[in-house]
Amino acid sequence: MSEIPNDMYYTRTHEWVRLEDDGTVTVGISDHAQELLGDIVFVELPEVDSEYAAEDACCVVESVKAASDIYMPITGEVVDTNQALVEEPDLINSSPYDDGWIFKIRPADDEDIGQLMDASTYEAEIADE
């Protein structure tokens, strides 16, 4: 059973989304997603300062099995990316919710995050897969 922390939101495409104290939002992929992907070998990070709409493909995670797009969970501007993933992409496997975060965004609308799934809804969602 994969880990699904309660203090964050989730998307149908398996990104997790955490609201930080400074109003920015951190994004990564769920424990369930990293298990499905297998060993991650490369992350193509988004460009800082670029703006994306919700559900835009903004970065790519490549594993030994597949290359998958990561989608913008909510509309906003990318303010930071996890440079540690350049050398150690497998941080996403070993620590999907902490050291393996992928990028931070400044949401266009602070209300948007509330539209995403909470942990229990996401748990039910992946149980159906």
Partner: protein, 456 residues
């Protein structure tokens, strides 16, 4: 692996299982107006005897003149061993193999090819080849648009001294993808890209700059200055290079402070005959940082579970069978056999052999230039050093002069007046290691006669 087509019975059985009446019915979903119609102008099929007869007649038309023509395809000596080895059954395929466990020999050969190309270009990575030089530039343009993520303009600066065929092929391929290829003027005294024309784009969002070395005119480009200018302006650098020239010239990986980002070109000079235009192959190398944007297949060396060396296709997540519509390209290799010949050619010559060939071309070209400069009615159009081609300005229309040289069994060069009308009566002449001193003397003597005749 035997190729066994389905029998009529098998086809009928399969159709009955899925409940379809005919194979055509399987395509009903595609609206009629989108289906391939019969193609006009394609002649009926011929049997082997008829094809041989036709090709022999065509080969005779060619007449095997003494060749002073380059302009993208070059006549070099190909050691007999090259095609003797290439056409062995073990090598006889056009494709990169899918099954690594059954294709170690072919995969190793491609790996060696890639290693040779990276050594020649001083780049980090090479792919397993592309169709030809023109498609290699097109793919390099698409790759730069993907790879330069800071640039949003999708504008590529393309100096007019890049092979015009490469330019038009690239335009055909990229024009419907919202990518703009912007002509950059040349300096009319040197044939190099005009630094003033380039600097007009300073501060603008430019995705990449193409640099041809040598230029289509045979002259040498200011590769360091343009590379550094491009990088300072946030643009990637695409090098279009003649691989033979790299035996003598500074490789693209060492241009300027940081080197070119992508190097591509046509591999024909390395062991492929001119054969009326093909098949040739394209090559492409890049810096490691861009490898995930590289099109085509890449062979890697690895070890198996017992620690034994083995060769595999690698970084396949870029490719269409994994990334589907988001693949870097739908290109696969189709030119594997020519690549095989090239790899054998390079291994037979080695670095010093290649250097000797390139130096002999350069020397022969200089010999011809020295002879021709003494003729009234001939001027060397551009100042500065050349590799193995030179542009001559004649006092008569080039087509007329070429026709008269053809009467003497001399293929006198490439008439630039169609692609570059502003250059006047300009003729592009190439001399490789194949031309003897006697042939060079003959060319000069015949040209002198033609240009001095009928003068009133």
């Amino acid at each position: 692996m035997p190729f066994i087509p389905h029998t009529e019975d098998e086809i009928r059985d399969m159709l009955s299982v899925i409940g379809a009446d005919s194979i055509d019915q399987l395509f009903d979903e595609i609206p009629a107006h989108l289906r391939a119609q019969s193609i006009d102008g394609v002649p009926d099929g011929m049997n082997e005897m008829e094809v041989s007869r036709l090709m022999n007649a065509r080969a005779k038309q060619d007449g095997q003149p003494i060749c002073f023509m380059g302009a993208g395809a070059y006549e070099h000596h190909i050691p007999a061993a090259v095609w003797q080895i290439t056409t062995r059954g073990e090598y006889y395929t056009a494709y990169t193999p899918y099954q690594a466990e059954a294709s170690q020999g072919t995969l190793q050969l491609i790996y060696e090819f890639q290693s040779m190309m990276t050594a020649l270009t001083a780049m980090d990575v090479s792919n397993a080849s592309l169709y030809d030089g023109a498609s290699a530039l097109s793919e390099a343009v698409l790759m730069a648009v993907r790879g330069n993520r800071k640039s949003k303009s999708r504008r590529i600066l393309l100096p007019t001294n890049v092979n015009p065929v490469y330019g038009s092929a690239s335009r055909s391929i990229v024009q419907h993808q919202n990518i703009e290829l912007v002509d950059v003027a040349i300096d009319e005294t040197t044939g190099q890209t005009s630094m003033d024309a380039l600097k007009a784009y300073e501060g603008e969002d430019i995705t990449a700059v193409v640099i041809s070395q040598p230029t289509f005119f045979g002259t040498l480009e200011q590769v360091d200055a343009i590379t550094d200018w491009a990088h300072a302006n946030g643009a990637m650098v695409i090098a279009v290079v003649n691989p033979m020239s790299l035996a003598l010239l500074k490789p693209p990986g060492e241009w300027g402070e940081k080197g070119a980002d992508i190097a591509c070109g046509d591999g024909q000079p390395l062991g492929a005959p001119m054969s009326s235009g093909g098949p040739y192959y394209g090559f492409m190398c890049c810096q490691k940082a861009h490898v995930r944007q590289m099109p085509g297949r890449i062979v890697g060396r690895t070890v198996d579970q017992d620690g034994k060396e083995g060769f595999v296709l690698t970084l396949q997540a870029r490719e269409q069978h994994i990334r589907r519509s988001k693949a870097t390209s739908n290109i696969c290799t189709n030119q594997g056999l020519v690549v095989t010949a090239s790899t054998i050619y390079m291994s037979l010559l080695g670095p010093s052999g290649l250097e000797k060939v390139a130096a002999a071309c350069h020397q022969n070209t200089n010999k011809l230039i020295a002879k021709l400069s003494a003729i009234d009615g001939v001027d060397v159009l551009f100042d500065g050093a050349v590799f193995h081609e030179v542009v001559l300005k004649l006092n008569k229309p080039v087509a007329e002069v070429l026709a008269k040289l053809a009467d003497k069994n001399i293929l006198g060069g490439y008439d630039l007046s169609k692609d570059y009308p502003q250059l006047g009566n300009a003729l592009l002449v190439c001399v490789t290691e194949m031309r003897t001193d006697e042939e060079i003397d003959d060319y000069a003597a015949e040209l002198k006669k033609i240009l001095s005749a009928n003068e009133r």
